[in-house]
């Protein structure tokens, strides 16, 4: 495996990190909002 972290490889990993971050953020927001819709 290539040890040097090339700019292209770094950019690919950061893009993947951003995608995952948006998904996790959306999950947290959904948890917050769905709670208000649950009827007691």
């Amino acid at each position: 495996m290539e040890a040097t972290l090339t700019p292209a490889e770094m950019a690919r990993r950061q893009a993947a990190a951003r995608r995952t971050a948006w998904a996790l953020g959306a999950a947290a927001l959904a948890l917050y909002l769905i709670g208000f819709l649950i009827q007691r």
Partner: protein, 531 residues
């Protein structure tokens, strides 16, 4: 783990502003880690001063120093500050400093989010404590006086301090979620080549589980306090029985967050402990996989046991039995961790530098937290101990001995790596022994006060509790003052001292020790390969 090649980056490309702008705009994980840790230390003293005022009031029966309302405010803000503004930022500071170094990453994956996550903290801390100052000018009636739990209906009826705390908790929650997202994506995406998940340092595993717990539970707390806010100001009745609401619902929502929060505070410490024990025993960590699976098991169990915090509120018997046994089952993976920690030291070439002393203190005292926790998990016994000083003593063994002393272990272990200087071992050892002795002097009497029936959160008490309260207060003041040694030792180490080598400790293993001390501004520009 063996390391095939490592190429520490040179000191180049360090173009960053100086002075206050450096700290406001920094996206460097080390700078942000330093800010988190400094903020945590400051707030540790702020929260500590609050509780010393409380202990001073409790030195003898009767009301001497303050009104009961102010006493309640000090207790509530002490807890919120210590949990949200001291312990959690300290753990996040560790994550910022250490994760990239330990997994071979150049920085955190989302550096600007990282900066934002930190800078949300100071405004939140100001919001928490500002009502004390406002009250001096006749605005409002002081800070939140409900304890850190915000229990309704007291919090529905409370003053503006509750609103300030609600907004502070929202901001702290956003900060925690952003930090967690950053940690998860950094671990998933920026590990060095060859570092599979089962080669991940245990500290990173501990934080990974913590981060998922935060993302799962902080929104529930945020929802609960938002509902509380609408109950207070917008005519809803979620928690108001007079309007058809249910105050017990608040307790369920709060503790669905609150119990995992205990593990959120402790898992990062459990993650760093094997590194310290292994280093100073000069042996590999025992039971790596068992510890990873225990972390995961504890994380899962932590979200299904919440109602043991309010057994006495009145629940169907099957619910009581379920929550009792599910709570007790957490002791199984926790016992695995304890076994692994002890087995790591077994027949090792042990030496007792300050981090190792704190690790030993942590194991023994946190063990007492676990054992007294089992007592409280018992439905029948809990009916007697609930809301007594026994509970106060138990959770301080968990969160001071298990949390804060764990943080101190980490600080002494990694401080030479961060600063490039060795701290004073003599001062460190004085700090350890004063802390351990005074901590027990403070909290062992509280177990007995609780067993004898003294309720928590009261500014005055029956004469029969006088002696043990006096002893506890003396212990608390020694404990508080001895932390000045900690701050002084850190300050001295930052300023100078004997030069620390890259591999600071003889038995230390892991990528972070391959870098010089202090590490270059950009760590691991060339990633190491892990075999």
């Amino acid at each position: 783990m063996s390391i095939a090649t490592t190429h520490p980056a040179e000191h180049h490309g360090e173009h960053h502003p100086s002075g206050i702008l450096r700290w406001l705009t920094t996206t460097n994980h080390k700078d942000i880690g330093t800010m988190y840790l400094t903020f945590a230390l400051i707030m540790f003293f702020v929260g500590g001063i609050m509780i010393l005022a409380v202990r001073a009031e409790l030195f003898s029966p009767g009301l001497q120093l303050m009104k009961p309302e102010f006493f309640n405010q000090l207790i509530g803000v002490h807890a919120l500050v210590m949990i949200f503004a001291a312990l959690m930022p300290a753990a996040t500071g560790f994550a910022n400093w250490q994760l990239p170094l330990m997994i071979g990453a150049p920085d955190m994956a989302l550096p600007r989010l990282n900066n934002w996550g930190f800078w949300l903290l100071p405004p939140a801390a100001i919001l928490l404590t500002l009502p004390f100052t406002l009250a001096l000018f006749g605005i409002g009636d002081g800070a939140i006086a409900t304890g850190w739990t915000f229990y309704a209906p007291l919090s529905v009826q409370g003053g503006i301090g509750v609103d300030f705390a609600i907004f502070a908790v929202h901001i702290l929650g956003v900060s925690s979620i952003m930090g967690s997202i950053n940690i998860i994506v950094t671990i998933f995406n920026l590990r060095a080549p060859g570092m599979t998940m089962m080669k991940l340092p245990l500290f990173a595993w501990g934080w990974l589980i913590t981060a998922f717990l935060l993302i799962a539970t902080i929104p529930v707390l945020a929802g609960a306090v938002t509902m509380l806010l609408t109950d207070r100001h917008f005519g809803t009745h979620f928690f108001d029985a007079a309007g058809g609401g249910d105050p017990i619902l608040f307790q369920h929502l709060f503790w669905f967050f609150g119990h995992p929060e205990v593990y959120i505070l402790l898992l990062p410490v459990w993650g760093l402990m094997p590194h310290v024990l292994s280093t100073f025993s000069r042996k590999p960590t025992y039971g790596y996989k068992a510890q990873v699976y225990s972390f995961i098991a504890i994380g899962v169990l932590s979200v299904i046991v919440w109602a043991h915090h309010f057994f006495t509120v009145g629940m169907p018997v099957p619910a009581l039995i379920y929550f009792m046994f599910s709570t007790m089952s957490i002791s199984l993976p926790l016992a695995v961790l304890f076994f692994c920690w002890v087995a790591t030291m077994w027949r090792g070439a042990m030496s007792f530098e300050t981090p190792m002393l704190f690790a030993q203190g942590f194991i023994v005292l946190f063990g007492m937290a676990g054992l007294t926790g089992l007592v409280l998990a018992d439905v029948a016994a809990d009916a007697q101990y609930h809301h007594s000083y026994f509970v106060v003593a138990h959770f301080h063994y968990a969160l001071f001995a298990g949390g804060i002393m764990g943080v101190m272990t980490g600080v002494y272990y990694w401080l030479p790596k961060w600063t490039g200087h060795m701290y004073s071992e003599t001062l460190g050892k004085w700090h350890f022994w004063l802390t351990v002795v005074s901590f027990n002097l403070t909290f062992i009497p509280q177990f007995f006060l609780g067993l004898a029936g003294m309720p928590r959160r009261i500014p005055d008490y029956a004469l029969q509790f006088s002696e043990f309260n006096a002893i506890s207060t003396v212990g608390a003041f020694i404990l508080g003052l001895s932390q000045l040694l900690f701050a002084y030792n850190i300050w001295r180490c930052v300023k100078g001292g004997p030069k620390a080598e890259g591999r600071v400790w003889e038995g230390a293993e892991g990528l972070e020790w391959e870098l010089p001390s202090p590490p270059p501004h950009h760590s691991w520009e060339t990633q190491p390969v892990v075999k």
